[in-house]
Symmetry: C2
Subunit: 395 residues, 2 copies
């Protein structure tokens, strides 16, 4: 089946997680994504985890479905090659600071001077304008500055990060929306545009209704462990042989929970009989749920909760996730083969399209692996030209 | 300026966070989004936080930029109206279970029988197929089942959720990518398609390289508080008057950190002089950073770190986030006015487009607020027909 982005070419100058993940998902949907690295390799080839053969694992995941070329953007002799490439490009993805980007000729004005059909996706710590625009940013710094850390972790504890780079992922995904909006609009105008994604913006956008709570109710939300403030019972509970998460979010599910937990006598109790009162008695309700769960195994708990339609699930360890039959049925852990290492499991494609399903199916390139194809075949450089560029350290 | 999605009409049948947020962002980019609720109002109008006037705050945020109509999908008399609406619709967004969707006539086959140009975005707990497909799902349950909770929180502590619904946000954003891919492809084929997003898939997709670590290195990642496993120094550190987060991710920044922290004598120490060794001495390096930060105020720390280009930032409380000048310069906290309540702050639009910037600028509708416009003006129902539909409880 064809990809929805067949015929689209993307140049990916980014690094680490957010940009590379975004570019990989464009590749998964059919775009030809060319990762452009400095001749020595991108910085994410030097960050852990490291395989026994010394290779860094980030690109093994985040640079699948890409071609790999080298180009030293700081070398004046790179400009000719870059412009030839840009003439055939639809999307440029980069994560330089606004100032550096301009020096490298990758700002929108410079790109459009070569090819006005290009869209430019910039993912940076703080965005292309604003007082912090030139600062170096990072997923966890953004989590801290947006207040996400202030409301994560045990009650009364120190601020805590989410255990994965949720802001990087969010930035990648907002970036995809932006790229697609720009491509869609280009169908009408013929022109590309710039998309500015900032990690801090992304983290702030994830903050639910906490600012409204402060302004309207005068309540500053704090970390509350695994509870949520306005539903009950809602928590992680310890069963005999593991943890489960249970959340009762509507009156319908409250009534079902009462039946399952054998507390039908509390169903119509005025302290508990609606969403609007239940959360005020969260402590009591969570204790009831904790006692009920505590007397059972995970399997027993879920065996009663799930048929009742209640949102409940096991809190799994990583080996359990890898062994899960639903994760497997959804193809959510793939294996990429890397020479001398063997199969490397990575998360799969979390978007299932009926007509253009796409797939993550091509292992990440080695440094410069596709120089010959891209520069030779695509841009028609002669072997002599390529040899000269290599000798000059341009590629 | 025009929106990139001008002329696109979306029907939003969803609830709570993921679906409504996705639909709101389509509206922010110019689509006409019609939220379709049961005549009594959607379930998210009954969940906290609640304003003093009794209204629920979720829709105040997640249903901005939408029109609101009522329609009882379970009423047989609703079908005529639904089909008239679908004939003029580009995208349907729903969050029912696969079985319920079919009963309601909102599966792709039923939709395409009316209008083959429709794309159907389904966001559910477990997706449209697989052994758990009919289970009820939820953000935090997905966090638990994907292993995200297993690696969040203090070292040695219990599994912990991220403090906001990061999986719901992820699902909304993957959904936007899917909708845009479908609209882009429709330009060529004239036909819409189905997009299947599952909260569990999304959560698994956020798990970085942890599965690769297990398979290749035999290492099961665990919660490690605010550290990250492969960079150092990297942690949250306590200054005299607050917390800062600092992360040294490359050798360049290590050298700069040495200068700032006055430890140039350690710069070339073989224990510390590259990414590939530094993380093995994380404890020692984090202690050095903790001591240096601990002797200074937040402002003093950042006053030295930031000019050196180091990724460092304050870990802020929610009031500090709301007061931040950069958040403000990026328009990342907006105010929506609701009658009898006044201005309600909500997070702003985390995507800045140069040509079609879009905006979140219209407060959420009351239940059925746009019945007259949508059913009367758009679908040309007469006042008598509308009165009859209302009397029958259809709208």
């Amino acid at each position: 089946m064809s990809g929805a982005l067949d015929g689209i070419r993307v140049l990916d100058f980014s690094n680490f997680i957010a940009g590379p993940y975004c570019a990989m998902l464009l590749g998964a949907m059919g775009a030809e994504v060319i990762r452009v690295e400095p001749p020595g390799g991108a910085l994410d080839r030097d960050i852990g985890p490291y395989a026994p053969n010394g290779q860094a694992m980030y690109p093994w995941h985040y640079s699948c479905n890409k071609l790999g070329v080298t180009l030293d953007l700081k070398n004046a002799k790179a400009k000719g090659l870059l412009h030839k490439l840009l003439a055939r490009t639809d999307v440029v993805l980069e994560a330089f600071s606004p100032g550096v980007k301009k020096k490298l000729g990758l700002d929108l004005r410079s790109l459009h001077a070569v090819n006005p059909a290009i869209s430019l996706l910039s993912i940076s710590g703080y965005g292309q304008y604003g007082p912090y625009a030139e600062r170096g940013g990072l997923d966890t710094v953004a989590q801290g500055m947006a207040g996400l850390m202030a409301i994560t972790g045990p009650e009364g504890g120190e601020p805590m990060r989410a255990g994965v780079a949720v802001v990087d992922y969010g930035a990648a995904l907002y970036g995809l929306y932006g790229v697609m909006l720009a491509l869609y609009q280009r169908e009408k105008t013929g022109r590309g545009q710039a998309i500015d994604i900032s990690l801090l913006d992304v983290a702030v956008s994830f903050m639910e209704t906490v600012f409204a709570e402060m302004a309207v109710l005068g309540v500053e939300r704090k970390a509350m462990g695994n509870r949520r403030p306005y539903t009950a019972p809602t928590n992680m509970f310890q069963a005999k042989d593991g943890y489960v998460y249970v959340s009762i979010t509507t009156d319908l599910f409250w009534r079902r929970f009462c039946k399952v937990a054998g507390i039908d006598h509390l169903r119509d109790d005025p302290r508990f009989n609606s969403n609007r009162v239940r959360y005020k008695h969260q402590k009591e309700l969570n204790q009831i749920a904790a006692d009920w769960v505590g007397a059972r195994t995970v399997e027993e708990v879920l065996g009663e909760m799930i048929p009742a339609g209640i949102a409940a699930g096991p809190v799994l360890t990583l080996p359990q996730v890898m062994a899960d039959e639903h994760v497997s049925a959804r193809n959510m852990i793939l294996e990429m083969n890397y020479e001398g290492v063997g199969p490397v499991p990575i998360p799969g494609l979390a978007i299932k399209m009926s007509e253009n399903p796409g797939q993550i199916d091509t292992p990440a390139p080695a440094v410069g692996q596709h120089n010959d194809y891209v520069y030779g075949e695509l841009l028609s450089c002669t072997p002599e030209e390529l040899a000269a560029l290599a000798a000059d350290g341009v590629i």
